[in-house]
Symmetry: C2
Subunit: 389 residues, 2 copies
């Protein structure tokens, strides 16, 4: 129907930076060796792992040996949550998460109930913000872990983690943050945030799918999800995805350098799209914190239209955009995040999630906006509930 | 010191087949999308996942939906063992493994002791063979799982799994096999083996590191190691390593077609090297089953020399070969496999593990052999224990 394609779903994965892909190729070619090998073929892969670990550590202000490579953000979150929980089994038995965590945090925590853990969900306000005092109030002597995401992947809201960190530190409770949506989009420093564990994923900042990391502050104990040969200091054993890790390292390097420019570009495009939507479409509601959120993300609900129809028609017109949740598009469930924020209201409310990237242009934004206006008009024209205001 | 490089450590990872790498590239480029996305950018990755799953399933005679993609053989083994154990917690509490399993099986099983599981190790004979009757004898009503590897990764011995499968099936016990060392080297059929779970890794048959799979027979229940968004039918959730999976799929296709030729080539080269070693070096001992083992693998011990010195000097002369265990080279521990086989004997005994691949040539073998003869001579000349026979 349309040859033009505009990608505005960066939270589902960014394009791989050409430099990152370029860096990976030798490790799919001549440098295919196993970094565990102590002969010639192990040397270059070993060196490459070390340099990538340095680059990723630098990106988040960590020490090199505090970076554990994993296979995806979901694994990092599971390793953090189950790792702390299983390590503290018999000693502690309580986990605190927010109500708007990614499923890989929510369901990891929930899966621990069969091992005797109790999980408390702290609520969020209408902007998707966690009140640090709400965290303080639910802590118990038996609390092993608090996990509060840095930026929400659906509404983009950034949390005040340093305040939460002060509270958990005083009590010797491990603090994890899922920073998959924020690393590569805003500056992230593990020390400024004050966290003990932090998840990040390469495919959120120009690296390939299949590689991610968990920052693990020195002294933080984890029961490994994988037992075996002893790679990653025994915390995540298994033959490393060398090429993927090299791609992640290169993407981290590029991000270090490009982040201010990337944030500016995303903010500018976001403003353009946000204003366009406000100016041209009525019956809308922007979700998330308008002040503190990741640049380039717009979560917007439209009254009297269905989200799935919106998404489908935008796709037919060449605009790739997500429904309520980028990761869970395939299930098309109502967003637990918007529900927890109490902004779902009643009646038909279709939600779209635009996440812009630095390669998007103003022309892309105009193209998306024009089509959005037409699609919303068309769908509302078919709706018995809608009357033009 | 030397420009020539001969790679004879294929068990530590094969080179990536050029066709597999070629197939991956688009998914690191334009087709970078997330297969969970229901818009245009999700379509090609979704299709690619499906086709790769088909190819991997075909390689082992499984149904497409019985293939779960993971990130490495270690993950597959951990998912199998912990998956079955955690699923049966409170109902069953006993696991059986062989004494020569890969560490990812041995230590996964051992890690479950803190959850109340008991682990029984069945012994092997001097060839590294598990007696099916020995398995039968240790089974209990509370046995949840038996895990016996298909081919041992150090000595290459192939087990008689179908006989073991008959025993476990009768009793409703889940049977897992670590087939990481065998898939791609010998024909593997999940139905002929009779297993419920089977681990395989792409980097053993021309695919990239970072991608592996667990075959899971319909109806076999697993507690997932990762909880989250629901990918891989909830059994291994997390954004998929699309490019890696595509590489694995292509490598599986190539293997289907190339396996007879690959086996012939490896057997021929193995014979050449084995005979050369026998003819030119005394005080040696070949380890493993001379009849039933994976083609191209030679595990050989040399009296009066140290394994590490052997490996180092071979490396200096341009031959990449492993010590006792390819995966664990970095730790340089005595092999638990040779120990379990009771073939370590006393006194200095250096072991090398040659694993040949289809791209090796007769000239490679002659080069390796010439250098091996010289290195062994040189090291023995320095040994106070050795007297030429």
């Amino acid at each position: 129907m349309n040859d033009r394609r505009v990608y505005m779903d960066h939270i589902a994965g960014t394009p791989v930076a050409p430099e990152a892909m370029e860096a990976m190729l030798p490790y799919l070619g001549d440098n295919f060796g196993n970094p565990a090998s102590i002969h010639h073929h192990g040397e270059l892969p070993q060196d490459a792992l070390f340099r990538s670990r340095e680059a990723v550590a630098r990106l988040i202000g960590a020490e090199t040996e505090e970076v554990i490579f994993t296979s995806c953000g979901t694994e990092s979150n599971n390793l953090a949550i189950k790792g702390v929980a299983f390590d503290s089994i018999g000693v502690k038995s309580h986990i605190v998460v927010s109500a708007i965590e990614h499923y890989s945090v929510l369901y990891s925590a929930k899966s621990l109930e069969r091992f005797g853990f109790e999980v408390t969900q702290v609520p969020v306000d209408m902007m998707g913000r966690v009140d640090p005092d709400a965290v303080r109030r639910v802590l118990r002597p038996e609390t092993a872990l608090v996990s509060i995401m840095h930026a929400n992947n659906e509404v983009g809201t950034l949390q005040d983690l340093s305040e939460i960190a002060r509270i958990t530190r005083e009590r010797g409770i491990v603090l994890h943050t899922d920073a998959v949506a924020s690393v590569g989009r805003v500056p992230v420093s593990v020390d400024e945030l004050g966290v003990d564990l932090l998840s990040l994923a390469a495919n959120q900042f120009g690296g390939p799918k299949g590689t991610a990391a968990l920052y693990c502050r020195k002294g933080t104990r984890l029961w490994p999800l994988f037992h075996g040969g002893g790679q990653e200091d025994g915390r995540r054993t298994g033959t490393e995805n060398v090429a993927g890790i090299v791609g992640m390292g290169k993407a981290a390097e590029l991000t270090m350098e490009a982040l201010p420019r990337r944030m500016d570009a995303c903010r500018r495009l976001e403003d353009l799209l946000r204003r366009g939507i406000s100016d041209h479409i009525d019956g809308i509601q922007f979700n998330g914190d308008p002040e503190r959120h990741i640049p380039g993300l717009i979560n917007v609900s439209f009254r009297y239209v269905e989200g799935e129809a919106l998404l489908l028609h935008m796709d037919l017109r060449g605009v790739s955009v997500a429904g309520a949740s980028a990761c869970m598009s395939i299930t098309a469930k109502a967003s637990h995040v918007l529900e927890a924020m109490g902004v779902l209201g009643s009646g038909a409310l279709g939600t779209l999630l635009f996440t812009l990237g630095e390669e998007n242009t103003e022309d892309d934004v105009r193209y998306a906006l024009d089509n959005l206006v037409q699609v919303v008009d068309m769908l509302r024209a078919m709706s018995p509930l809608y009357t033009r205001s």
